[in-house]
Subunit: 284 residues, 2 copies
DNA sequence: TTGCTCCTCACGTCACGTGAGGTGGC
DNA sequence: TTGCTCCTCACGTCACGTGAGGTGGC
C-alpha cells in the first residue's frame, strides 16, 4: 500500500461511468476527459477515482446534447459556482427547447388531423412608415434569440428619442435568409413621426437607426400560432402570388401583432405576413 | 396559359418552404424530395406547388429529428392513413424521449444542488436462484425497449409453465455491454422451483429458457430513481470494490425491485445493483 | 450583354463508431 | 506462454454546410 491511490484501467473506468471505451478515447483526443496518467511505454490510459464524478457529469451533459467544447469549458471552470452557473444556463436553454419541441409535436398531430384553419389572403396597400430599425446578418437558428435581444433595444431607442411606437414591431427578410439560411434581416418599430439621425449624444442608442419602411402593395395574410409553423402561411402566400403570375417586389415583411412579449402561449401569437408585389409587371 | 401548372425554381421553393437550397440539394440526392422536373441541359431543378406540402412535412419531421430514411418511408406510404400512422408512431416515441429529457434536466439540477442521497453498500451472500431467462446481444440505447419487450415474455413463460415468479425480475450485464456499448444481457425472472427444459410443445414459449442465476457474494446497493442515473450507484460500488482490492467475480447483476411496470414515476424506481466479488482472491 | 441564379464536385463538421493490425500485461 | 486488454490509425456515418469553379436564363 503506497500513498498513491490506485488508478483505474480504461475498461474499469468505462464500467463505472457507463461511458464506452471508444467514447473515452474521443474525450481524451479532444481533451474533455484527460486520463490522470498515460503509460509512456504502452500508451495505456489510467484514470483516477476522482475522475468518475467528472465523467458522469460529462455523460449527463452529453445526453442533453451539450456540445463538447462547452462541456470542456464547464469542466474547466475556476470554481464550482462558476461551473454550476454555466450548466444551469445551458439547462435553461434545453428546457426551453424541450418545450418548443413538445409544441412542435402537438402542432404536427393537429396538422395530421386536419385541425388547421384556412388561410385568408388579401391585397393591401401599405403606406410608408417612419421607424427605428436595426439591421444585421442573422443565421436562421439564431433568429428567435436575436429578436428577443433586438426589439427591447428598439423600444428603448424609441423611448430615448422621446417618441412613441406607432404600432407593433416588424421585420424585413431578405431572400438569402430563406435560401441560404443566413441573410440580412431588418427589425423595426414604427414611430409616429420620422426621427432624425443621432444629432445629440445618446439620442438613438446602440445600432438603432432612423428608417423608413417603404410603401408597397402586398398579398397579406395573418398567421396564427408559433413561428415555426410560418411555412404554412408562406406556402399559401407564395402559391397565391405565383399562380397569379405576380412579380415579387422586395423582401417579405412580417409584423408581430401579438408577439412573444405579449403572451407565453405560442398559439396566441399573431403574425402578419406581407409578400410585396410589383403591380406594374407580370411574369410570362 | 397552358394546361401545365407553373413550376417553381429552387429559390422560390426554398422561400415557400423555409428549407435552404443546400438542404433541398441534399434531399434530392438522398431521394427524400425529388424535384418534379430536372432540366436536361442545365440541370435546373423545378418543383411543383403540390410538393410544398410534402416539403413542409419534411421540415417538421426533421425538426423533430426523424432520420431521413424514415422520412422517405413516411412520404412513400401507399395512402394517407398509412403515412399518418407511421408519423404518429414516431411522435409517440419523441413524446416519450422529450419527457425523459425533461427528467434528465431536473435530475441534473438536483445533482448540482447536492440533493442526492447517500449510497449505502453492504456485502451479501446471494443464493443460487432457479429462473426463466432470455439472453441477447443488446445495444445500449436499445436496452429500455428490449426490456419492455422481454420481461412480459418471461412473465408469460413462467405462467405458461404453471409456475410462480419468486420475486422481482433481474438482469446480468456483461462487461462488454458497458465497455463497447453493446454486449450480452441476460434478463431473468426467478421461479419458486427449477423448471425443466421444454419437454412438451409450448411449455416455455419464445426464446425463454430455464436458467439458474449463480450464487455469489456481492457488494450490493439499492439505486433509487431513473435508470440513466444508475452510473452514480455503479461509481460508488466500483470505488468500494476497487478501494478494497476486491476481485470482480462475474457480470454485474441488477434486480428491479420497483420497475417501470410498477410505476410511471422514474423517481419511484428501485434497482438493486449487485457487484459480485471473488472472496478467495485479492488484487495486489 | 451583364448580373444573377443555379449547377456539380470535393471537402469539412460534429461526435463518435468500426474495423485492421499490432503490442503490452498478468 | 496464451489470451485478453489495450493501443493507434484510417476510414465510415449522418445531415447537412462551405467554398471553388463553372454554366444557364432573362
Amino acid at each position: 500500500m503506497t500513498g498513491t491511490e490506485r488508478l483505474l484501467t480504461i475498461g474499469e473506468f468505462a464500467k463505472l461511468t457507463h461511458l464506452p471505451i471508444k467514447t473515452l478515447h474521443h474525450y481524451h483526443d479532444v481533451e474533455v476527459l484527460v486520463p490522470a496518467e498515460v503509460d509512456a511505454q504502452s500508451g495505456y490510459r489510467r484514470y483516477s477515482f476522482d475522475q468518475v464524478a467528472a465523467a458522469q457529469l460529462v455523460r449527463r451533459l452529453r445526453s442533453l446534447d451539450m456540445p463538447l467544447p462547452e462541456v470542456r469549458q464547464a469542466l474547466a471552470a475556476p470554481d464550482e459556482a462558476a461551473r454550476n452557473q454555466t450548466i444551469l444556463t445551458y439547462l435553461a436553454r434545453v428546457d426551453h427547447e424541450l418545450t418548443q419541441a413538445q409544441l412542435a409535436v402537438r402542432s404536427l398531430r393537429a396538422l395530421l388531423e386536419q385541425q388547421s384553419y384556412p388561410i385568408e389572403i388579401e391585397h393591401r396597400r401599405l403606406d410608408a412608415m417612419p421607424a427605428v430599425a436595426i439591421e444585421a446578418s442573422v443565421e436562421r437558428p439564431a433568429l428567435e434569440a436575436w429578436c428577443a435581444r433586438t426589439y427591447p433595444l428598439l423600444d428603448a431607442a424609441v423611448a430615448a428619442a422621446g417618441a412613441e411606437p406607432a404600432g407593433p414591431g416588424g421585420g424585413l427578410y431578405s431572400d438569402e435568409f430563406f435560401e441560404l439560411a443566413t441573410g440580412r434581416v431588418v427589425a423595426f418599430v414604427p414611430t409616429t413621426t420620422p426621427l432624425e439621425a443621432t444629432d445629440s449624444v445618446g439620442r438613438l442608442p446602440g445600432e438603432a437607426k432612423p428608417f423608413v419602411v417603404p410603401a408597397a402593395t402586398a398579398a397579406v395574410a395573418v398567421h396564427r400560432g408559433p413561428f415555426d409553423e410560418l411555412d404554412r402561411t408562406y406556402g399559401a402566400l407564395g402559391r397565391h402570388v405565383a399562380e397569379r403570375s405576380l412579380v415579387v417586389g422586395g423582401p417579405v415583411r412580417e409584423r408581430y401583432l401579438v408577439s412573444p412579449a405579449d403572451t407565453d402561449d405560442p398559439y396566441e401569437l399573431r403574425t402578419e405576413v406581407a409578400w410585396p408585389i410589383d403591380e406594374n409587371r407580370r411574369n410570362p
